[in-house]
Symmetry: C2
Subunit: 487 residues, 2 copies
């Protein structure tokens, strides 16, 4: 909200707000600013105040005027070369894939990278409904401190510093992870596990190892947009598979496989968040998993099971890797969603025959990973500290989810999926791209439904993080903006 009593003039305040959004990448290059009239109405100021603010942005080189069309955010980065052609019709919702003169409609601006950067730039602010992690205040630090102290005696630190370390990752951590997988019913030896720089890096290593440019990969839709962006950057062809409550849509998968069987376009890989799927919260059923694995066998593709929300799931949840025994499946795990996002520790478990090429990719990308933090995490798991922390988090999240659902319903939303885990997949009844843009004016980062589609489409859905959407003030603003949109 603009303050008339503040030391800055109203136009200065308005210009500063837009400038911050542009510098934080929350307004992407090519975005059209609201028309002077709309902006004046929205902020309850005179049109001349808006014109003065836009002129400031022009002077700062942050926006450019296009004759008779309005003001647009300038592209300040000089791309080294054009981004690869969009791998699916309609393209990724990313400014890089738009031809330079395409106007991006006002509102369609929260892209995958915007959302990801928002996770960082907004972290010190009030709770944000759009982010994908627990609030820092939920994370217990005592176990981290205890475990780090334990492994950083002078001798241990020396050992964990002056050599490159085991390329597979710290052997102690890999043993502990193998035991954890055993608890989930997944048989994997410590020698089948490779540690990585977070789950993100595990998925990157798998994609780089199993896919060549031009190869086809099946992805879940809706799904995690960073995955789409990464795969597109690798030159892969994305085949979106609708995600249902029981798992991926097997009929669609079968059609892809049949159509391309025996050709170079045959899908080589399917990437799935099978348990507590992002953004819906769905978990795969044993029946769907069984049939999916049969299809993978018949059509000879691999499956990467991204279990990064697994710590939040009930113990009995079915994993593809559990049924398959890591024969054509690879398991990806991490700790960023439960313990220490910044320690950047993830891992993959893979069929024996794939370990060497996967390890080669890790070596070429980062050589090894830091043993010190891996040893501290191993201690943390071995002592049961992680297990107890995860129990507390699940209990706390259950309460937050219950309250979050009530708040959403009370403010006129419906739930598009049975709520589970960290995320709610919420129908607002209005275009959430527009909604997200307007809420940004009030300092709230939303995750509009459109970004979760490989082929961007208008959507009335949004993903909320139950842990960060407990704020009555947020819901009040939300209802006000939504009602204004409905006119």
């Amino acid at each position: 909200m603009l303050l008339r009593s503040a030391s800055q003039s109203l136009s200065d305040q308005l210009a500063t707000r837009f400038a911050t959004h542009i510098r934080d990448h929350l307004l992407a290059a090519g975005t059209r600013l609201p028309s002077v009239r709309n902006c004046a109405e929205q902020h309850d100021v005179s049109p001349s105040t808006v014109v003065a603010a836009y002129d400031q942005l022009l002077a700062q080189g942050l926006v450019e005027a296009r004759r008779n069309r309005g003001f647009f955010v300038r592209d300040r980065s000089q791309r080294p070369h054009p981004a690869p052609a969009s791998p699916v019709a309609g393209g990724l919702s990313n400014s890089k894939t738009l031809p330079p003169n395409t106007a991006r409609p006002y509102g369609a601006t929260i892209s995958a990278t915007t959302l990801m950067r928002g996770m960082f730039s907004y972290q010190d602010d009030k709770p944000q409904p759009g982010v994908g992690m627990l609030p820092p205040s939920w994370i217990a630090t005592d176990p981290l401190v205890t475990s780090l102290r334990k492994v950083s005696s002078s001798a241990a630190l020396r050992e964990a510093s002056v050599r490159y370390g085991d390329p597979m990752g710290d052997a102690g951590l890999r043993r502990v992870l193998a035991a954890r997988l055993g608890d989930l019913g997944i048989s994997a030896g410590a020698d089948q596990i490779i540690t990585t720089v977070g789950a993100t890096n595990a998925l990157d290593i798998i994609s780089r190892t199993l896919l060549k440019p031009g190869d086809s990969v099946m992805v879940e839709e809706p799904g995690w947009p960073v995955e789409f962006t990464r795969l597109a950057a690798l030159g892969a062809r994305l085949l979106p598979v609708p995600r249902r409550a029981d798992g991926p849509d097997l009929e669609v998968m079968a059609r892809y496989c049949q159509a391309h069987a025996g050709t170079p376009a045959a899908p080589r890989l399917f990437i799935s968040v099978s348990v507590l799927h992002n953004p819906t919260g769905y978990s795969i059923t044993p029946a769907n998993a069984h049939q999916l694995l049969q299809m993978a066998e018949q059509y000879d593709f691999h499956i990467a099971e991204d279990d990064c929300y697994g710590h939040l799931a009930p113990a009995h949840a079915t994993r593809l890797t559990q049924l398959d025994g890591l024969r054509r499946t690879l398991y990806v795990g991490g700790f960023a969603k439960i313990l220490a996002p910044n320690w950047r520790i993830g891992f993959l478990a893979a069929p024996p025959a794939l370990l060497e090429p996967l390890l080669d990719t890790k070596l070429l990308a980062t050589l090894t990973t830091p043993s010190l933090l891996e040893r501290a995490l191993a201690h943390c798991i071995e002592q049961g500290l992680l297990r107890r922390h995860a129990q507390l988090i699940r209990t706390r999240l259950d309460a937050a989810r219950s309250r979050g659902v009530k708040l959403a319903l009370a403010h006129g939303c419906t739930l598009a999926a049975e709520p589970a885990g960290m995320f709610g997949w919420v129908d607002t009844g209005v275009d959430t791209d527009q909604l997200a843009m307007r809420m940004l004016n009030d300092g709230y980062l939303l995750a509009p439904g459109a970004v979760f589609y490989a082929e961007r489409r208008p959507s009335t859905l949004m993903r909320i993080n139950f842990a960060t959407t407990q704020d009555a003030e947020f819901w009040g603003k939300f209802a006000k903006v939504r009602d204004a949109m409905r006119g």
Copy 2:
């Protein structure tokens, strides 16, 4: 050496030795084992002992017999798909690029990945002439312990764990790195620096950002083979540029640029270890650097300057990034060669216009990097601990180099390049692939000249690490094996 008095039989000892080499990837798939007669002579045992040993390896599935041709190391990995076609005529010296039925001649087996894995598997053994890092005993751990303690108070640890952290890397470390670059005469703001998982990861991020599959990249030859392997895996086309004492061969570069100017095959990037080049130890002259930068301007390519041996260089060494002011050059630095290989901290500094795409690549590959270690390193540099340690290392390395050169000359070698830094580029007068295979029998890992060429070629050169080649016993063995090869 096989021991007649040992509890194991001679054939068991021989089989165990081969099995270990195969499992450690020091004998690549497709390698032909020595003939029974040669092996018997070399180890001074009877042919029947060798036959018994080879039968054990057959039974363990480690080798296979080919009729009338001998025994070959089996390919135990099931590659997910064929490796990309070799980007240069002759191909990388890597078993993956050989057709499955190609016999790899006995001796041609120390490939890039072998050498890299040897750096890990041999690290607990006696000093190895072929490795590319300082002996662990040379690394001072006290500064690391001091600095880590300093930054891991409960509050600081909390701050460095529970949030993802700044995507660019810890702001404090980036300020310290900017100051260090300033000391080298390179003007870079902290906001032009991105931290990475070691220098390896910085080079990977740069290559992934600036190169599309099929793009041409100029590399130095001889050069670091892991770089060739990484670029080939990205689908890049390698254009080898001979490295001379004064810098890259500018005539060859001009020919590449002229031939492809204005076409998609025009080189987009040149990657150079300009100071203390690996393996020769050469450093670029100001005149060569100036002309190289003019060529980059004229033909519109970027230069990535890999300065990972910079801590070992004299203060006045010329850097390309210093002359250019980071306009079309990118600087890559790391600490693995001087301080803490396993902390995996490196960084890049880049022209402002490239920062956003580079940061996108980092985010897609690893999200962020661990702040805790970055803060400890920042403390270590700020307190002058790194500077003092580097001075000691340079003094110690000077002495080792002086002694290493004398030993090499005394054992009949000549130096193919003026010795400087960590490495000696030594002419042995015999084929170093053969030499390396034979020395492996005595437990020594050598770095034969052939692996440093993108297009593998026989070579009488080898790279020695002065810090790990001080051992009179090694030089004695070396002379004996070399003399036997000369017959």
